[in-house]
């Protein structure tokens, strides 16, 4: 339902590209996360989707209708794309009701629609309050209600949890995505926190230096990342070329990596190597054991303490990623 085809954007007349030849398609009702580091092009991409910027080239279509191309440009107010800003962008001089009703264009059922969406976000009774009279979480819900009120085809959430406390974040994140699921709206959730992305989306799009490097289901992107960069976005990975060369042979263009959480100590696994214990740290539910393996230092979570100075580090064949060396 949302198609992006060969879209590029440069802010310095082609010397460098904020987005370089991006193409993808999103399906109706699904949740997508857009992840990438700062400067990867996430913000530029969503501004292009909303019509707040124009691309240098490429076509964007919504519901089979072209909204951006060389010759067509549908202005933001005429696209049915909602956006929840990182800073919420609530209108400070308008009440909750006035904020939410602002984007509703139908004349007859405005009040009902406001009640409906405020119900959805659990803020009934807050209609007369002003943004400054609400907590951070409540402001977030108003921003969501306001974006949902005009019933957009696509809803974009731009790092909506970055201003919230860690304790509040997980709870609010799950609640908000439950609410959005009920509306059957396509969601693009922009985040640099891959745990959030894994928790709430059906598929993840990874942007790196303005290029879309992988678009896959959450499970596939975790289990079969296309390269070491993507693998490392979802947790620490270590390279074990020496350990695995007996199985795979010496193959210079390839490197073999394993996620930190898949490493085991003194267990029966496919691959084993000797390690020197450098440090042990009690972390509550586990011990963080710091090891020296060859030239690299590795930290492994282990359920119990290990008294010896040396141990065996191992992992199974099934958890090994092989990537082309970059």
């Amino acid at each position: 339902m949302l198609t992006v085809k060969n879209v590029s954007k440069s802010f310095d007349k082609g010397k460098s590209y904020a987005l370089n030849n991006i193409s993808f398609t999103l399906e109706k009702g699904k949740s997508y996360s857009l992840v990438g580091e700062s400067g990867s092009g996430k913000t530029t991409l969503i501004r292009l989707l909303c019509g707040l910027e124009t691309p240098d080239e490429g076509v964007i279509s919504l519901q089979e209708q072209i909204v951006t191309s060389d010759t067509i440009f549908i202005t933001p107010e005429k696209r049915k794309i909602g956006l929840v800003f990182q800073d919420y962008a609530l209108f400070p001089h308008l009440s909750v009701y006035e904020n939410v009703v602002y984007g509703i264009s139908t004349t007859s059922s405005k009040k009902n629609r406001v009640t409906e969406v405020l119900n959805l976000v659990g803020l009934n009774g807050f209609e007369k309050r002003y943004p400054h009279e609400l907590s951070g979480g409540q402001q977030q819900r108003v921003a969501l209600a306001r974006a949902l009120a005009p019933a957009p085809e696509v809803l974009i959430l731009d790092e909506p949890f970055s201003n919230l406390d860690t304790s509040l974040k997980a709870q609010l994140r799950n609640e908000i995505f439950e609410i959005i699921k009920e509306t059957n709206t396509t969601v693009i959730f922009v985040t640099h926190d891959t745990n959030d992305a894994l928790a709430v989306s059906d598929e993840i799009l990874v942007l790196h230096n303005g290029v879309l490097v992988q678009k896959e289901s959450t499970e596939m992107i975790y289990r079969k990342p296309k390269n070491k960069y993507i693998a490392s976005l979802f947790g620490k990975v270590y390279t074990f070329d020496d350990v695995t060369k007996s199985e795979f042979g010496i193959n210079d263009p390839m490197e073999f990596c394993v996620r930190q959480e898949h490493l085991q100590l003194n267990s029966k696994t496919h691959y084993l190597t000797g390690a020197k214990i450098l440090q042990r740290k009690f972390m509550g539910t586990y011990y963080a054991i710091r090891l020296q393996v060859g030239k690299q230092k590795i930290v492994v979570a282990h359920p119990t303490d290990i008294k010896e100075n040396n141990c065996k580090l191992g992992f199974d064949k099934s958890v090994v990623f092989s990537f082309n060396k970059e």
Binding site: T75, E77, G82, L83, P92, G103, R146
Partner: protein
């Protein structure tokens, strides 16, 4: 569409300046050579002397008083802080009248001292330097004080922990860092000095501005007036260029987020006397003395001055100022938002021309406005007479339309700058959010942006209103015969040797000027 509208507004604002530039090609008038041989050197030397003299005095008064109120805590500091800004509320020509009257034969000084202190001639270039400095130093004071209060706290702390004393820190650190801000204030002073007509004319000092009037009215040679205007504009552009150059030369920025307020010291007894002298002299001579003199004269003359004619002048003045303020603010808003909405980035630079008017002296703008509007009026009269066989009078000239247009050109920057400053504070995501929610640019402006920038809009309205109330040279040239303003009335009284009668209209102008000065002070303290 927005691009076309932006260009139209910029075109209208730039028209007077372009007119002067184009007319220069016609060559100077017959008396230009005579002027060059005789008085031009006076214009240049007097203007230079004025620039040098007012620079020294305004820096002395402005910087020293700003430092003292920022660094020390003493009795009546808060009251003195805003009293120091108040001379800004009195137009220079009114302070000039007050001083002239005070030191004249039989003037207040002679009476108060029972003749011990006789006539003292202030009506010369030294007197003019004093009058202009004592009325304009608040521009430097405000700029320096804003810097000292907001930017110097952390720097001072850093310097203290390095064991550096107060005076050395001031000399090596604070003053050099405050220099761009102080020079910014000084340039405003000098633009006002070069714009002045009333005080220089009254004191008999020939400057560029008085020369323009002379060429226009006495010699009846617009070409010569245009040549003088062009020279004056060139001087101002050199000043502005120097200011821009010194600002661009700086390769650093002070991190304002990490700044802390400057902690005020309690001065010792000896220092207290010096402090009271530093803040007392400018307040006393720049505000209290002229004000008391004017009140005294007003009490002597109110019975003759206060009549129906005076009331009508006050109402006309007020209405013209309101109208001009509204027009200027609408144009400023249009310029800011049309530029925002158009997609041509080049226009961002072109719109800067729209705010140039404040740098151009009123007399020059008046001439630049008069020439094209007269041309338009003449064309309109002949067009109507040819096509409709009807005779009409001047449409723009001879009505207040010409005044409102000229005020808009002159004071565009006065409205534009505070509004733009507030606009920049409104988060971009506000308007983007409104657009994504389906609202047009215009609806977004009226429903979201305007309510959020209303303080800036109000500030702009008040500032333009006050500037129009005070304005003299432009009004003198352009005002239709039947229209009268308080500033012109005061000038006419003073020119007719009825200096005491000038007090009441002057006091009314001051009263309207005090309000925004207080507003300005509140904004700085925020």
């Amino acid at each position: 569409m927005w691009s076309a509208l932006t260009l139209t507004i910029v075109g209208l604002i730039a028209l007077p300046i372009l007119t002067i530039a184009v007319k220069l090609y016609n060559g100077p008038g017959e008396s230009w050579k005579h002027l060059v041989d005789t008085v031009l050197s006076d214009y240049i030397s007097n203007s230079l002397l004025l620039i040098i003299g007012t620079t020294i005095l305004t820096l002395l008064f402005g910087v020293s008083s700003a430092w003292v109120v920022s660094r020390y805590d003493f009795r009546f500091r808060k009251q003195l802080e805003w009293l120091l800004i108040l001379p800004l509320a009195i137009p220079s020509y009114i302070i000039a009248y007050a001083y002239a009257g005070m030191f004249d034969y039989g003037g207040t000084i002679e009476k108060v001292t029972f003749g011990v202190f006789p006539k003292f001639d202030v009506m010369n270039i030294t007197g003019l330097i004093w009058v202009l400095s004592i009325s304009l130093y608040p521009y430097v004071y405000v700029a320096a004080r804003t810097f000292f209060l907001n930017q110097s706290g952390r720097l001072f702390e850093a310097s203290k922990v390095l064991g550096v004393g107060e005076l050395k820190a001031l000399k090596k650190l604070i003053i050099p860092l405050a220099r761009p801000a102080i020079i910014g204030g000084l340039v405003l002073v000098l633009m006002e000095v070069l714009n002045d007509y009333g005080a220089a004319k009254y004191y008999g000092v020939s400057t560029f501005t008085t020369g323009i009037f002379r060429a226009w009215f006495s010699l009846e040679e617009p070409e010569t007036a245009i040549y003088l205007s062009a020279l004056l504009v060139a001087v101002i552009f050199i000043l502005l260029g120097l200011e821009r150059w010194q600002r661009n030369k700086i390769g650093y920025a002070i991190n304002s987020k990490t700044q802390v307020p400057l902690i005020r010291l309690i001065p010792g007894r000896k220092n207290k006397i010096i402090i009271y002298l530093i803040v007392g002299i400018p307040v006393f001579f720049g505000f209290l003395i002229p004000l008391i003199q004017l009140i005294y004269w007003a009490l002597l003359t109110y019975e003759t001055v206060l009549n129906d004619g005076f009331l009508s002048t006050a109402i006309q003045s007020f209405l013209i100022a309101v109208l001009a303020a509204i027009f200027t603010v609408i144009f400023a808003l249009a310029l800011i938002y049309f530029t925002k909405w158009n997609r041509l980035r080049l226009l961002d630079y072109i719109t800067k021309i729209g705010t140039l008017g404040y740098a151009i002296p009123g007399a020059v703008i008046a001439i630049g406005v008069l020439i094209p509007t007269l041309g338009f009026d003449k064309w309109l009269i002949s067009y109507v007479s040819e096509h409709f066989q009807t005779k009409i009078g001047f449409f723009i000239n001879g009505t207040i339309l010409v005044l409102v247009y000229a005020y808009t050109v002159r004071f565009m920057a006065v409205a534009h700058n505070p509004i733009e400053a507030v606009c920049l504070k409104v988060n971009k995501s506000m308007s983007e959010s409104s657009k994504i929610l389906g609202q047009s640019a215009l609806k977004t402006f009226f429903k979201i942006e305007l309510p959020l920038i209303k303080t800036g809009v109000f500030g702009g309205l008040v500032l333009v209103f006050v500037d129009v109330m005070k304005e003299l040279p432009l009004t003198l040239i352009l005002k239709p015969y039947q229209v009268q303003t308080l500033a012109v009335k005061a000038y006419e009284y003073a020119s007719d040797e009825q200096i005491m009668e000038a007090a009441l209209p002057s006091l009314l102008i001051i009263a309207t000027g005090v309000l925004p000065v207080i507003l300005l002070n509140k904004l700085i303290n925020r």
